[in-house]
């Protein structure tokens, strides 16, 4: 048994060595051996009524093409965080699983994930083609390839989402809005017309000064302690919280807060701008944008919205690796897991099953090639419907939901191609050496950031206090460590 398996690996290695980019071919899969049983954990939006039928369909494909039996393990984000630690530290069956890149340092340290670079060349050629070498490197920490990024958007520009009816009423036009400060006169006008309405609101982690990270600077890793300003066009690591940009953003928010444009609860809000707008009392909110933002927001808010991009498109490591799929050390045969992952990325049917369920039952293809619910099926009674492409493996290689442009993925690609690319694109900071400092800094930032960003505190006095505390807690050490790692990385490039 073992020997045969070894032979497969060797032959795979040899062929891939000889044939290069042709990658894994079905011919190399030994269909005589016991099918490998793989467990695939992936993120979903909801608990579907029927996962079993999807799993069955999925297994038909994998048995036929890979000689593998796959146990599907969909998890919602609400429970994922509390379960994953335990599964990883136990012997539970797990091959492929998603995680946040912020955990990668710890996961490598604790031996939770497999270094995929060992297998990528032999079993993941399609991954390299699909994701692109540059993008894959965003998941590589110090030479350890902990995961591969999912095919979600590669830039996170900030969009301002407004109710179109109110915008028209204010007399302003979408073209008038270029930056966040252009909103102030609109709010002033509308506040006069609708004194009871909230002009600007969202979840506290989505306020403008918090979300601009991915368009103003490269945060070099999971947190903003030490960043590359100028959209990552410099190579000197500096403190974001000391910059004029941060000060100005907070000042704008403070001004709005004082003028009553924002909800008084913004600093602790856990309600999304989408829900607040749907409830009818909100004019606008900020969000990360992508080409189909308007379609999504219209459906979420129930209003016709106007969505305006107010920051640039910037490609940085943090955005690319924000959702990634790795291989757990619990996997009995990591190379098989790699084959499976490779197969999913390149197989349209696989992605459709995971995201949209079963054709005919959960969706039907419409004339323009997009998909929709079948007759009589609605969001309330559909058996399996996730619409969670950003968190799954390869949404580019699957159907597009009705209402979106049939060329959506082309639009995504266009944005990516025209974006500014940070000089540190592909550099992934390893926090292990300063992890205690970062832990403590995180509590300092928790103390100030949300309140400042919501305009609840006067930035003139509070930001200096905030920075002082950051430096007291070891910010400089983290900046120095980042600079050292970045310099070493740049040298290598």
């Amino acid at each position: 048994m073992k020997k045969r398996w070894l032979a497969v690996v060797l032959s795979a290695a040899m062929t891939s060595g000889m044939l290069g980019s042709l990658g894994v071919k079905a011919a190399e899969i030994d269909f005589d051996e016991e099918p490998y049983e793989a467990t695939l954990m992936y993120w979903v939006a909801n608990d579907a009524r029927d996962v079993e039928a999807v799993e069955e369909e999925f297994n038909k494909l994998t048995m036929e093409q890979l000689n593998m039996k796959v146990d599907l393990m969909p998890v919602t984000l609400g429970t994922y965080g509390q379960q994953i630690q335990m599964i990883l530290s136990s012997d539970d069956k797990l091959d492929i699983f998603p995680f946040w890149p912020g955990s990668m340092g710890t996961y490598i340290d604790a031996d939770y994930i497999v270094d995929m670079s060992e297998y990528l060349e032999d079993y993941g050629q399609d991954l390299i083609d699909i994701i692109g070498e540059d993008d894959i490197m965003c998941c590589s920490m110090d030479g350890f390839l902990g995961a591969v990024p999912s095919m979600h958007e590669r830039t996170n520009p900030v969009y301002m989402v407004m109710r179109t009816d109110l915008l028209e009423e204010s007399g302003f036009k979408a073209e008038d809005i270029k930056t966040i400060d252009d909103m102030t006169p609109i709010y002033a006008k509308l506040k006069e017309l609708h004194p009871d309405m909230v002009m600007y609101g969202c979840v506290n982690s989505m306020t403008y000064p918090v979300v601009i990270f991915s368009s103003l600077f490269d945060p070099l890793g999971d947190n903003n302690f030490g960043v590359l300003m100028d959209e990552g066009q410099t190579t000197t690591v500096t403190n974001w919280y000391e910059t004029d940009e941060f000060m100005n953003a907070c000042k704008t928010m403070y001004e709005w807060n004082q003028a009553g444009y924002t909800s008084a609860d913004l600093a602790t809000s856990s309600d999304g701008g989408e829900s607040l707008m749907r409830a009818g009392n909100l004019f606008s909110f900020t969000t990360y944008g992508k080409p189909n933002t308007k379609v999504e927001k219209d459906s979420m808010t129930g209003y016709d919205t106007t969505c305006v991009q107010i920051t640039d498109d910037l490609c940085c490591t943090k955005v690319t690796n924000s959702v990634c799929y790795g291989i757990s050390t619990n996997s009995e045969e990591p190379e098989k897991a790699m084959m499976l992952l490779n197969w999913i990325y390149k197989t349209k049917e696989a992605n459709d099953l995971l995201n949209w369920g079963i054709e005919g039952r959960d969706y039907v293809v419409t004339e323009d090639g997009t998909i929709d619910y079948p007759e009589g099926v609605t969001a309330e009674n559909v058996q399996y419907h996730q619409d969670f492409g950003w968190a799954q493996m390869n949404q580019y290689n699957s159907y597009i939901w009705k209402g979106n442009s049939p060329d959506l993925w082309g639009q995504y690609q266009e944005v990516r191609d025209n974006a500014v690319v940070s000089k540190a694109y592909g550099f992934f900071f390893d926090p292990t050496n300063v992890i205690d400092e970062i832990a403590a800094l995180q509590t300092v930032s928790d103390e100030y950031l949300m309140s400042l960003a919501a305009g609840a505190l006067d930035p003139e006095t509070t930001i200096p206090e905030f920075n002082e505390k950051l430096y007291d807690t070891g910010l400089q050490d983290v900046i120095d460590e980042k600079q050292a790692q970045l310099d070493a990385w740049l040298e290598e490039q």
Binding site: A110, D111, Q442, T443, A456, L457
Partner: protein, 311 residues
């Protein structure tokens, strides 16, 4: 009360008589062994650089490195908060619990008695996350009952509750009492109903006032229960109800100076750093302090009255 009993020598024949009792203890002891003692060995991971491949027991030792993050930021403030809140909670919980228990047992009408008992236990049914929603419904600056209903009606200016640390020691104490006092009260009610009514009968014949009866009979009879409860709480004096200090203040940064406790700090710190070594270290730190305090308290109780010592 202090009768120095002479310890009988343990012989097989006397021991044999106790075997039924040991058999009654056995299932529980086995359960504790499995559920608590076996996993307790995992505490050593607090002193290790954990690696899955090497396992909890095989990982390399790393001294006290996992404890370092606990003392990186404002450790004094965090420990102060944890201790002060717990001391206040212990004392108030005891006073209010006993007072309510006495009042309820004194109520003459059976129906009212039942009503009160159910009422004080109701908040106990609600999880702390839900409590945080209820508190928010009252204190939300924009939509809250207090700002919109009460303060407006009184003509007072609205208060940004979630940005004003000065109110929170009181709010948290109140919430804790509201949610938790039913638990203690119930135990004390059970304790009071266990008191021999003959004592009260005798006191009444002597013409003792109700107050006298309480101080001379009820309270002394409750002392063992009170000591037990206090000891149990002292053992957890470095721990705090995470939900109460994290979810109820809506994780509001502006309130950290009065809401940051060891548990919330550890949670926030480990959000980014993670690692089972660090969380084990934090747990061990809390336990060892509790352990030392309980041993000390038990020693004191033993000196005063052997009867009432925990062990």
């Amino acid at each position: 009360m202090k009768t120095k009993k002479q310890k009988p020598r343990l012989t097989w024949t006397t021991f044999k008589g106790y075997i039924p009792l040991y058999l009654m203890l056995l299932p529980g002891l086995v359960y504790f062994f499995i559920n608590n003692y076996i996993p307790m060995a995992g505490i050593i991971v607090a002193f290790k650089k954990y690696s899955k491949r090497k396992g909890i027991y095989g990982s390399d030792w790393c001294g006290l490195k996992n404890f370092e993050f606990l003392f990186k930021n404002d450790a004094a403030l965090i420990i102060r908060n944890t201790l002060l809140y717990n001391i206040v909670f212990i004392i108030l919980g005891m006073v209010v619990g006993v007072a309510l228990a006495i009042l309820i047992t004194d109520v003459y009408s059976k129906r009212c008695k039942r009503l009160y008992q159910s009422a004080i236990l109701l908040p106990f049914l609600v999880s702390i996350v839900v409590v945080s929603y209820i508190v928010f419904a009252f204190l939300s600056a924009e939509n809250g009952m207090v700002n919109n209903g009460l303060l407006k009606a009184l003509g007072l200016p609205a208060v940004q509750w979630y940005a004003e640390p000065k109110y929170w020691p009181f709010i948290l104490t109140f919430v804790n009492l509201w949610k938790g006092c039913g638990y203690g009260t119930l135990i004390y009610i059970a304790g009071i109903t266990g008191i021999d009514p003959a004592f009260y009968e005798a006191a009444r014949l002597d013409g003792a006032s109700r107050w006298k009866q309480i101080t001379n009979i009820t309270l002394p009879c409750l002392v063992p229960s009170l000591i037990t409860m206090t000891m149990l709480n002292i053992g957890r004096i470095f721990c705090s109800d995470f939900g109460l200090f994290y979810q109820v203040p809506q994780n509001s940064g502006a309130l950290f100076s009065v809401t940051q406790t060891i548990d919330t700090y550890v949670y926030r710190a480990l959000m980014s750093a993670g690692g089972i070594g660090r969380s084990a270290a934090a747990g061990f730190f809390q336990s060892i302090v509790g352990f030392i305090l309980v041993m000390g308290a038990n020693f004191l109780v033993r000196r005063i009255s052997r009867e009432n010592a925990m062990f």
